[in-house]
Subunit: 373 residues, 4 copies
């Protein structure tokens, strides 16, 4: 095996609490434990395309453990296999495969290996780099917790806590006003974040992409609660939740004379429907980007530190092209290729769903008998 | 002076952190300090219209100091002088003056006096009651901090803290993504909440209703920051902020085939404009109802306790028909009539505006030279 | 199998965030899902000795999910097999076995089964009850996370977060003053809480009962950091940490003329030693009871809800005398007898220890080379 | 008036949340608003004695608004008029007046003026500098809030919030265990912090230096509560609280064979007394240094920003040798000499004391009738 001397590290995809904690653990483990040089790559794969790198010293990663975000920067739109290099005469974007350029910059920078911290998309890009013979390891990142092969990723628990705090706040206000209150969390395809935050805050209704909802069932549930003297009904809803037979409303745009306006999401649609059908005052709040920011909670700082350390261990023991995972409560690894382009949704027989139902949660499924609470 | 034996207390208007702390202080001061009976009125003036009351004991107000919301409930739409009593044959609402009914219920319940905790609207209703000879005192409540005659109201500082926490979270995410991020806070007419939260979180741009903005100036400021290597620009914007010569976009509704959808607010409009003009990736988050909920911060718990205690002191010393206020850092009182139907906006020469400008904040005023930072 | 109709639930041992969440999940699952009656027993086994019980309705457990503590109360000193029933003529306590009384009260109250939420001690008492033929299930509780057979217990993550928040605060102050700062956390025999909070906050030194420390090594580490320009050294220390060849100082008492004074703990002893040996200004803070209180974080609310639900599932499927556990990330169960009187310490080859060492943490082991950071 | 070109800024005395926010506001106002150069002085007056300074740029103060501590460092023991310069042959410290050295370094560094952020002690040192003809302004800092002439100082509200959060946590645990719980906060001479945190958390007993306590009265109050079915009694106590006719126990040291051990404080003494007299289980927690650390709350960030800006305004308008203050809710200034060596205690007729008594708080004054609650 070729001896490693110099490794690169990058963060790709959407922001996530704990990225800095992983960077710090990668850098400290590599510097202290193995005497490696560490090179920070700016803005994910964009930094490899544009050759923007810098050495990372112990001082650079000092005091970043507690900070949200990533000191390296990140980007969402830098897939080397289809990179926008300009526009043609008609103003249409031109996409090119710049993978060779990425490989060139890696070789030019004398990077013996690469640690890629990111989600689905970043792992796909990393697969390209692996195919060109660069040893890589992946560290999974997604606040949606929907990556295959790992039970949990750092950042998820912080996002759950942020959403739970917001739901707690909404709860007191809903009760004061006798309202139905919808809180929309992230989650386009997977409902993990909504399910956890919903259970944690005692949400009365939880709507997730995996279980299409029936608005009439939800309305009956709300009215049933009002009749039993409950002062409020709290609905936690994933942005990707959809009605039975219908589609999610993410990203719908309404053109207007004045300008193009981004619409609210499913929670706004549902708020209007519920208010009309039930006559109950109903309001919606979309949590949005606050779920991606802020200092990671202690759990995520520990997990991120373990992931970062394990990534370096994999590299230094020659276990290339694997992604760090948590399985059965243990830090292990799987081939990166196993992860790319797949998503881990909530299985309909997941125990958390039974737990939620047992404590009286409504999922908007027709025929669900209104809870006796 | 007639000896007081029995007082009523109600909370009206929008939810606000600290309402329970005021209720507790009113009840404990009245019960312990003056041996009065205390009657809780449900859902603000609605409870007086519908005669829903209950005695409040020391046990009822035990352990409520830390809780958001109001154990008495509140309502926004119960002005006795114009109360919707039904609909006519065409389905149009019928409004009646039910003030006499309110007075009747107060007399029937043997309430010697009333403590009304609320904002502008609640104080107007209280004025009606006063005109019928019922001794009242008011306790000011508004998370917008825009009531006349008082420098501060409870709940405001908690709302500022909640908005500031969200801005802090957004800050780390904006920097990771090199984005312009807008955070929309409450404040239809007054920008106090946005100004305080903006300064507290180091927002780069602060847009408030009192200072109409020029979108080109904002865009130049964003571009100027990017050129100087700043990773992000944070814009704190009141829901009531408006362009020079334009109108606020609060509550605009777009009818659609499917349904009527509530639109996002000014932050969504601005996000689209800024992204188009500058080419910088721009995102908006609307904080919404989370700003009204949750446990009050220590400052508001102390202030609410002082206000509640002072209300009882006013009643018991025969100083009727006054509202508790904070002036010059002292708990004082003013006639309720002085407060009704007026609003306290940020004066354009307010020292906080100079402070914000001095540390480099942009208010979107044309001609503002881009800060050198 | 005998049909269950009525179950009792109790909480025993030290306070722990999430107890109310378990009680709620037990009650709701039993009431809604299985139509059982639920009886709350006051103050742990004391309530069974003294026959203090009350029905638990859905209303009783409404809105308790977010609250710290236990609505049922708890007690530390009510082991039925050795219960203090009075004092003899010399003032010495008389202990009796009152297990029969406990069994009598369970039968008298028509409890078909018992859910016991508690630690080591509570599980031992529950074993006694089981031996008398009462079906029981246990739910593990300990903020020390040192119960056998389960990877994690609710409350632990909240305590870690509380300790981590305190360490974060201490960190900024230590840096301003160039101090060595010790923060003493709970953990008499097991260092889980200290290890997690220490890693999460980036503590420079972590001292746990499982790894006796050498004070000279710690001092060399502190001086080494100062020489390298580090502004502060943070030491997270378990209350049960002890020097090599020495004893823990928990609970030492110094008699004085005035009164008997409880001494500070190991952190105070160490602070004095370190300051004397190194000449560096050193301070200690003992976190104490704040680690047991407060609203559980989202993670613990979800875990506690799962545990409570699973307890009822075990009872209703006739799987008696088992304790709910988390193993390999799954909610399972083990015989209660397997748990009693045993403790789960940190094994010296635990991966978290290697992770901590890899990022530069000192454990006070002689020969440890001062980290190059 | 001599034109200012270059100003120095230092932070002295104990750590305090918001120091960085003041430094940032001073630097940004000076740099952006007035085109001045700003020099940061390390570790308070020690940096002037040892001539350690560095320019502060806009980048240096970027992103420090939210951080606890001070990027400049601070020191407690650097009074130029009595500075320890070494030890004599007997090992006794030698103190010298090094004020001339300070003045020399200020002149050498071409500092036209000095902004000194600190408390009582720092203002005394600043008076020395003023007497040598160096223009200075002071910014008041103390988490005890006991500086003369200003109603509030930054950091105080954050410390109150930290103490209040701890008291909230202790509250749930005390109730679960039916305990008397003491929480000891900072405050050697003034009880502001304890009084505010105590009222904010609904502490049942508040003990402050200004009102010496009678332990029997406290015990009667605890027993009275127990008789009325209250599950817990919470006592907030200042470290400087003392019994009637007795002394405070701060800093008592017990020499031991093994080593000299720092004792716990007044809360430990009281816990033992109360447990012995009442038979109620009683525990104490000393909050300690966590009260000085952490990110400032929004209120303190705004206040610190105002103070920092105002300091520069004073300098630039030639109003030298004044300290920024808050009076009547307004940012004003007073002569520094007015502040030095004086302390602002809680007057016994302060309205907050009446408020606390009205809601049932016991201050341990003999003859106080046990509250009926």
């Amino acid at each position: 095996m070729n001896q490693l001397r110099r490794i690169g590290v990058l963060t790709g995809g959407g922001d996530c609490p704990g990225l800095n904690a992983v960077i710090r653990a990668v850098a400290k483990s590599a510097l202290f434990d193995h005497g490696l040089e560490v090179i920070g790559i700016r803005d994910g794969y964009l930094g490899l395309i544009e050759n923007r790198m810098q050495p990372l010293t112990a001082d650079d990663v000092s005091n970043i453990l507690t900070r949200g975000g990533t000191i390296l920067g990140t980007s969402n739109k830098a897939n080397p296999s289809r990179y926008m290099t300009g526009k043609n005469s008609k103003g249409q974007p031109i996409f090119e495969d710049v993978t060779e350029r990425v490989i060139h910059h890696i070789r030019q920078g004398s990077l013996d290996a690469l640690v890629a911290i990111g989600g689905d998309g970043t792992m796909s890009c990393t697969n390209l780099v692996i195919e060109h013979g660069i040893p890589c390891v992946g560290v999974p990142k997604t606040i949606d917790n929907d990556l295959m092969s790992t039970e949990i990723t750092f950042g998820f628990s912080t996002a759950v806590q942020t959403a739970c705090d917001a739901l707690d706040r909404i709860h007191t206000t809903a009760a004061s006003h006798h309202r139905v209150m919808l809180v929309e969390t992230m989650g386009r395809n997977a409902g993990w974040l909504t399910l956890h935050a919903g259970i944690a805050s005692g949400a009365d209704v939880i709507l997730i992409p995996e279980i299409p909802y029936d608005v009439q069932t939800i309305c009956r549930f709300c009215l049933h609660r009002r009749e039993r003297g409950k002062t409020a009904t709290i609905i936690a809803v994933s942005e990707g939740a959809k009605p039975i037979g219908g589609q999610a409303v993410i990203g719908r745009i309404v053109p207007e004379s004045f300008d193009t306006i981004r619409l609210g999401g499913v929670s706004n649609v549902l708020a209007d429907q519920i208010e009309k059908i039930t006559g109950l005052e109903t309001r919606a709040t979309i949590l949005g980007h606050v779920q991606r920011g802020g200092s990671p909670i202690a759990f995520d700082r520990v997990l991120a530190t373990q992931f970062g350390h394990q990534a370096v261990e994999l590299l230094c023991s020659g276990q290339f092209n694997r992604m760090v995972v948590m399985q059965g409560g243990k830090i292990l690894s799987v081939p990166i290729s196993e992860v790319a382009n797949r998503q881990r949704l909530i299985p309909l027989d997941h125990p958390l769903l039974s737990t939620a139902r047992a404590v009286g949660t409504c999922f908007g499924t027709p025929g669900e008998s209104p809870s006796p609470r």
